[in-house]
């Protein structure tokens, strides 16, 4: 069976650099559009544009036609826009008779997903492409609705009998009906991850009237629509979804005042999507400057840690893993399971996502299950029970249950000060529970987009700790950098970026999430769950003369947990290679050099832990050197995490500046987080100064905290 090359792409959840640039063209400031478009066009072959980016082209066209009116690609882009407009018009026209049939028979329905978004793209249905017409109906109306539509000439895809439809209402969330080129997705649950009985109650309760082609329809309220679009969008796919980002931005712009944020929080928590929503909102804030209320994100992140407590620790201690799959964490479990399996499928030349693979396979080769079954058993150590669906679905289809044998995962203990080596002789492999290679002599590779470490910290759980890593990455020829997000107990802590200079290895540290610090020991037992989300994995065999067919991301040498290194007021911290400053570096920095430490990204973070709590204000004295070749200045914005207050200044030579930092948690907090944003990082290579490819912004030489009181 030939394998479509699209299956061999590395799955992703977040936009890559070029996709992000395109999103910024759509959502950013007018004055930045020409340069961003130029950058995008220089880097991306328009003829090889990926599908999620193609979906944004109508909106890119709308911005470019006035700002870059002589762009030669505009006619082609206008054609894409026209096609999407035409396709939507035909979709609505072909679907309206079905909706009228439902109305005439008293079946309640509302338009969800893309059609529910149209009201936030006022006056232009061509800007929001969609494949099908998604509607939500009540589960008890499903059979009647399907009967009526089949009588109107619609057909289930794949073909299903009544029994299958009845069975499906318990295990599925939607059903597709097609007629000629048009498809209606009938949902009785709006999300495939949540099939609980009352999952849709608020969507129905708060629905709102809308108009579509001169007809009255109903759609979810902005609160529920935002929730659904984010949950649909933030997921691992062969290529990251992008439309949800624009949807969220448009909805917040058009109807942000109408959103009931407490209700949205309630959905996220009650339906166990706090983790997904927090990730989505964090991405919108950090990468696109699209803000949701700070308290919403704080609560989602706090809740995420608590959800972790309940869904990981109990099964680990008492229950077999199968129980986990019935727990709210099932979706996470499934994703991890899928990504873990990915490399095996790849090495066997099968589609990358096993769930997709199984679906794919079940559809086309139903008569010979043994190779796949044997492969799954051997590779994933799971048992399989075939579930013949001949009676329900017809002879072409078979389903299967996958079930891991009863297993306990023991989280190994790690003591403060202990160095855990991820080498053949180290104990790192005991912590590396998912997504890692077998240990090599010096390190262990992450081989999955979602590689996980789990351990118990044997120390006072109320103490503040930081975890240090020495890590590198596989950077194939022609690729300038790779990145990975680091999550600790579900909380995004850092984005590590490896350029050529750091690919061999760099030392990084993070404080453990604040939510854990106040947790009762019995809740978590100081269980630390670290997830490395590689933005992209590369296969050496595909990029260089190598027989290594694995997909590789980050390589981990060692890990070390210790109590936070504290600093005192007035004690200077030296960020040269001889100083102790490296203990306070977050993401976005190079390794310390003799003169100081360079930023190597657009953002770089510091975390400082005082030896005591401090008052309402403290001042930070910073000695900084800009990377400003040819006498140019470098614009720096310093953001204090506690208040998001910003200070912007221009640097053209070594300077010492003093910045006041407010502390809303006066007297109780001793952590200070600072972020540097560099306006125009540039590499010495680009300036013709050397072969150094790092995009430098400023060098931090020295730091001192001052108590103004």
């Amino acid at each position: 069976m030939p394998i479509d090359s699209q299956y061999l792409k590395t799955p992703s959840c977040w936009p890559d650099e070029d996709q992000l640039r395109l999103l910024k063209i759509v959502l950013g400031r007018d004055e930045d559009v020409p340069s961003r478009w130029h950058d995008w066009k220089t880097r991306v072959d328009f003829d090889a544009i990926d599908y999620p980016s193609l979906q944004l082209i109508p909106q890119v066209y709308r911005r470019l036609k006035t700002i870059v009116p002589h762009e030669p690609l505009l006619p082609k882009m206008r054609g894409i826009y026209k096609k999407m407009w035409f396709a939507n018009q035909m979709l609505f026209n072909n679907t309206i008779p079905a909706m009228e049939t439902l109305n005439a028979n008293g079946i309640d329905w509302m338009a969800i997903k893309g059609v529910g978004m149209l009201r936030y793209y006022p006056g232009d249905v061509g800007l929001r492409p969609m494949h099908d017409f998604d509607i939500l109906i009540n589960k008890h109306d499903l059979e009647q609705a399907v009967d009526l539509l089949i009588a109107d000439g619609w057909r289930a895809t794949p073909p299903l009998g009544r029994n299958a439809i009845r069975l499906g209402t318990h295990s599925e969330h939607a059903l597709s009906l097609a007629r000629t080129t048009t498809c209606i997705d009938i949902h009785w649950h709006s999300l495939h991850q949540d099939l609980s009985a009352d999952s849709e109650s608020d969507i129905w309760k708060y629905r709102q009237p809308d108009r579509l082609i001169d007809r009255n329809i109903e759609v979810p309220a902005p609160t529920e629509q935002l929730f659904l679009m984010c949950i649909h969008g933030v997921r691992w796919e062969d290529t990251a979804k992008l439309l949800w980002v624009v949807d969220a931005a448009m909805l917040l712009e058009q109807a942000g005042d109408e959103i009931d944020w407490d209700r949205l929080l309630d959905h996220a928590v009650r339906r166990h999507f706090a983790c997904v929503l927090a990730s989505g909102f964090t991405f919108l804030r950090d990468d696109l400057d699209i803000h949701t209320p700070a308290y919403v994100l704080n609560r989602l992140q706090t809740r995420r840690a608590m959800t972790f407590d309940s869904f990981i620790s109990e099964p680990l201690e008492h229950l077999e893993l199968e129980a986990l799959s019935r727990h709210p964490g099932v979706r996470t479990r499934s994703q991890r399971f899928a990504s873990d399996a990915m490399r095996h499928w790849r090495s066997a030349g099968l589609p990358s996502n096993p769930w997709q693979a199984l679906k794919h396979w079940v559809m086309i080769t139903p008569d010979d299950p043994k190779p796949i079954e044997a492969g799954l058993r051997a590779l994933l150590r799971i048992s399989i029970k075939w579930w013949p669906l001949k009676h329900a679905l017809g002879s072409r289809y078979q389903g299967l249950f996958l079930r891991r044998p009863p297993t306990f995962i023991k989280a190994p203990l790690v003591r403060p000060g202990e160095v855990v080596h991820f080498t053949k002789t180290g104990i790192g492999s005991e912590l590396a529970i998912e997504g890692w290679s077998a240990a090599e002599p010096d390190f262990t590779w992450s081989e999955s987009c979602h590689a996980r470490l789990l351990f118990k910290l044997e120390d006072d759980p109320l103490a503040c700790h930081q975890v240090k890593f020495f890590a590198g990455a596989y950077l194939p020829p022609g690729i300038r950098h790779v990145s990975a997000d680091i999550l600790i107990n579900g909380v995004p802590m850092a984005r590590w970026r490896f350029g050529r200079d750091l690919a061999h290895g760099m030392e990084r540290q993070m404080s453990l999430p604040a939510q854990l610090q106040g947790a009762k020991p019995s809740q978590t037992g100081s269980l630390i769950d670290i997830v490395v989300q590689n933005a992209k994995l590369y296969c050496p065999a595909q990029h260089e003369n190598s027989s290594d067919h694995r997909f590789l991301g980050l390589k981990l040498y060692w890990m070390h947990v210790e109590r936070n290194q504290t600093i005192s007021i007035d004690d200077p911290i030296d960020f040269t290679s001889k100083g102790e400053g490296k203990h306070h570096l977050g993401s976005g920095w190079s390794n310390p050099e003799p003169a100081g430490t360079w930023t190597v990204d657009e953002r770089a973070r510091l975390r400082l832990t005082l030896d005591r709590s401090f008052g309402p204000t403290i001042a930070v004295e910073l000695t900084l050197t800009p990377f400003a070749p040819s006498g140019h200045t470098q614009m720096i914005t310093l953001v204090a995490a506690s208040t998001r207050r910003r200070f912007t200044f221009d640097l053209h030579q070594l300077e010492t500046i003093v910045v006041p930092i407010d502390n809303p948690a006066s007297g109780t907090d001793n952590e200070i987080d600072i972020e540097f944003r560099i306006a125009e990082p540039i590499s010495p290579l680009e300036c013709g100064l050397s072969t150094d490819e790092r995009r430098l912004g400023l060098m931090l030489n020295r730091l001192r905290l001052i108590d103004p009181t």
Binding site: D47, K76, G79, K82, K83, W85, M90, I213
Partner: protein, 150 residues
């Protein structure tokens, strides 16, 4: 029929402007039409309540060119629009605008030369929806197919 007033065949026909090009779709048949600038002007006149004569007069007064050619071109376009079901011939109603009130540039203003109206028609809806708008189209963009694309 040509002496009547006209209206767009709603709700079966929808129209959208994409900058200097008007797109009309007959939802009933799935046919897609593209009108050039002159065609759009005539279509606007008809929508505002013009007859064939008044539309033709307007175009003659506002453009330079052979009167007979302009008159014939307007007539042909209206016939095409009727044949394709994009407009319907109707009796004049009070709700129709008085197209005669449409501003006519005075003689001092330079009139553009008349270019014939063009109504391009694309009929195979399924083919159009399957046409790759990046690779299978010429430089003018979808739905104009590349000559060598299958």
């Amino acid at each position: 029929m040509l002496a009547s007033h006209y209206q767009i065949n709603r709700p079966f026909v929808i129209r959208e402007s994409f900058d200097d090009e008007d797109v009309i779709v007959n939802l009933d048949t799935g046919s897609y039409f593209s009108l050039n600038k002159t065609g759009t002007k005539i279509f606007n006149l008809l929508e505002a309540g013009a007859t064939i004569d008044s539309a033709s007069d307007h175009m003659i007064q506002t453009h330079t060119g052979d009167v007979a050619v302009i008159d014939l071109a307007v007539c042909n376009l209206i016939e095409q629009l009727l044949t394709e079901g994009l407009i319907l011939a109707v009796e004049r109603t009070e709700s129709m605008d008085n197209h005669d009130a449409a501003p006519i540039p005075d003689d001092a203003e330079e009139k553009p030369a008349f270019t014939p109206p063009i109504l391009e028609k694309y009929t195979d809806m399924q083919e159009m929806l399957l046409l790759d708008p990046v690779h299978d189209v010429d430089d003018s963009g979808w739905p104009a197919r590349k000559p060598d694309s299958v």
